[in-house]
């Protein structure tokens, strides 16, 4: 799932993906705004065939938190 999330991030920001870890923060480290983040969650819904709870997902801050959240839905 970590690699999948990295692939999705690569669609949104021109970042060095090798530097991304569980503790990487979407807003502070990668420059995501809330719209970018929610769109990425929409992609995750499509690609992983999941249904995301917007309120819960909106509280996720780091790559590791998102990975754990998505794994929990599978």
């Amino acid at each position: 799932m970590f690699e999948k999330v990295k692939e999705m991030i690569a669609q949104y920001v021109e970042a060095d993906l090798s530097g991304i870890s569980d503790s990487t923060r979407f807003a502070d480290d990668l420059g995501f705004n809330s719209y970018d983040f929610m769109c990425m969650l929409g992609d995750a819904e499509d690609e992983l065939d999941l249904e995301i709870d917007e309120a819960a997902a909106g509280k996720l801050k780091t790559v590791g938190e998102l990975v754990a959240y998505l794994e929990g839905l599978q």
Binding site: Q11, N33, S34, Y35, M38, D46, E51, A57
Partner: protein
């Protein structure tokens, strides 16, 4: 789909839902310039006009939507778009450097009110301009079906980076992405799994009790509508849009005050847009007898992926942001409720604007043109800030010109200035809907609520309203 247009084969594509919003505006507006976007981008430095012409040409070659044309099939009346191959253009040069600057801007504003021949001609016009005080750059007037403000900013960045490559040996900018690819993606949304999910979300929104119209001038307009319809419980209102004559008033917030908003948003993990929306929402609550059910039309630029940020075109959707909260809600709770609702809207923002508002009218039975919102809002975080970081120490002016027509009764845009990053608030309004004094009043209260809220995040909305 291949079509023969003027004897030439063209690859044609249907219009996207975002484009159809502007065609709808065009259809119901008495004048065509309502869909014009006028902007001027000026650097305070000597400009090599030949190099700027070359940079503009290269930027147009790289930006498909700047070469987009519309075609109406004479047999079916269907609308199609296609991309013209690149051809070198000559851009006229106008020297206003000896003019009074306000007079120069008046000319550019006047040019913005010149309508395009939507189905038969070019949909943009560019001229190179010198202003007083050593500012040089270009003016762009473009049809909204080709570009939105985010596209214009991306295009400007490209022009200036190419210019710096040509003149100062800076790196050549990375290519723009394909506009046609983004059109194909938008068209593929129709009938997709995502569309079904979005439809379910918006249907659930429509299954809530009927919203309440709140006007930025107070309850008078709704009261008149209730009398006209002989219905004291009416909750919607038709705003006057027969004549779209409009104006834009710009208010500039100083850098320190802007930073207070940004710092507060950062500290409390609230998007800047939600902080501003809280202020507008609270003003609507105060002006409408403490109404708890407030809807604001949220304009969403839909530019998140690298592909969408650099593809040009128009991608804006506008959908309702409805929040219901009692006046004993604290400022922070209010902002968090707005943030959560906005996140839901964001997740489902690919849903067609026109489809949603049609379904809303069918659901609640309003008259054509009926609304539950009086204010439309957008926050434009992408500024030309990144451009000036490239050209450190050089003055930069970015102006947006009104065409003299407004598609929305009241459209508030918060946008960062390219020079110092301070916030500008653009209040675009229809002359039939508001007076300059009412706009001033709205801005005054919005600002008061905004800063009292930031200073007192634990106070309730009621306490904030009492303070201002």
């Amino acid at each position: 789909m291949e079509k023969i247009i003027g004897g030439i084969k063209r690859d044609c594509y249907p219009l996207t839902p975002a484009q159809l919003v502007h065609m709808y505006t065009l259809k119901f507006s008495p004048t065509d310039e309502v869909v014009n976007i006028g902007t001027g981008q000026f650097l305070q430095c000597n400009m090599n006009v030949a190099a700027l012409r070359e940079a503009l040409n290269q930027a147009i070659e790289r930006c498909e939507s700047m070469r987009m044309r519309l075609w109406k099939d004479p047999e079916t009346d269907e609308l199609w778009q296609y991309i013209l191959p690149y051809e070198n253009q000559y851009f006229e040069y106008y020297d206003f450097s000896e003019w009074n600057e306000d007079k120069a801007h008046e000319v550019l504003q006047k040019w913005t009110s010149q309508p395009f021949d939507t189905y038969r001609g070019a949909l943009s016009r560019i001229v190179i301009v010198s202003l007083p005080n050593g500012y040089n750059g270009y003016y762009l007037n473009v049809h909204h079906v080709c570009m939105d403000s985010a596209s214009v900013i991306a295009f400007t960045k490209d022009v200036l980076e190419i210019y710096c490559y040509l003149m100062f040996d800076k790196p050549y900018p990375t290519p723009m992405t394909s506009y046609i690819e983004s059109v194909k993606n938008d068209l593929a949304y129709e009938g997709s799994k995502r569309q079904k999910r979005d439809a379910a979300f918006w249907q659930a929104e429509l299954d809530r009790p009927e919203p309440m119209y709140t006007d930025f001038t107070g309850p008078g307009r709704l009261q008149v509508m209730r009398q006209e319809k002989n219905n004291p419980n009416l909750r919607w209102c038709v705003l006057p849009t027969a004549d779209s004559a409009g104006n834009t008033i710009v208010y500039s917030l100083d850098v320190d005050s802007t930073n207070k908003i940004l710092d507060f948003a950062n500290e409390h993990d609230i998007p800047v847009s939600a902080v501003i929306l809280h202020a507008i929402r609270t003003v609507l609550c105060k002006f409408n007898n403490n109404e708890t059910d407030i809807t604001i039309k949220d304009f969403i630029s839909r530019r998140s992926t690298i592909q969408n940020k650099k593809c040009g075109g128009v991608r804006m959707h506008c959908l309702p942001l409805r929040t219901i909260m009692p006046t004993d809600t604290t400022v922070l709770e209010s902002m968090r409720i707005i943030k959560e609702q906005q996140q839901k809207v964001f997740l489902h923002a690919d849903y067609s604007t026109l489809r949603y508002y049609y379904e809303e009218r069918m659901k609640y039975g309003g008259d054509p043109g009926s609304n539950y919102h009086s204010v439309a809002f957008t926050y434009q975080p992408a500024s030309a800030k990144s451009i000036v970081s490239y050209l450190k120490g050089i003055g930069f002016k970015s102006r947006w010109y009104s065409s003299g027509r407004q598609p929305q009764p009241m459209y508030v845009t918060a946008m960062h200035r390219p020079g110092d990053g301070g916030l500008n608030f653009y209040f675009g309004y229809q002359l039939e809907s508001a007076t300059p004094e009412e706009i001033e009043f709205l801005y005054y209260f919005t600002g008061r609520v905004l800063f009292r809220s930031i200073e007192n995040p634990d106070k309730t909305i009621q306490e904030i309203m009492d303070m201002v």
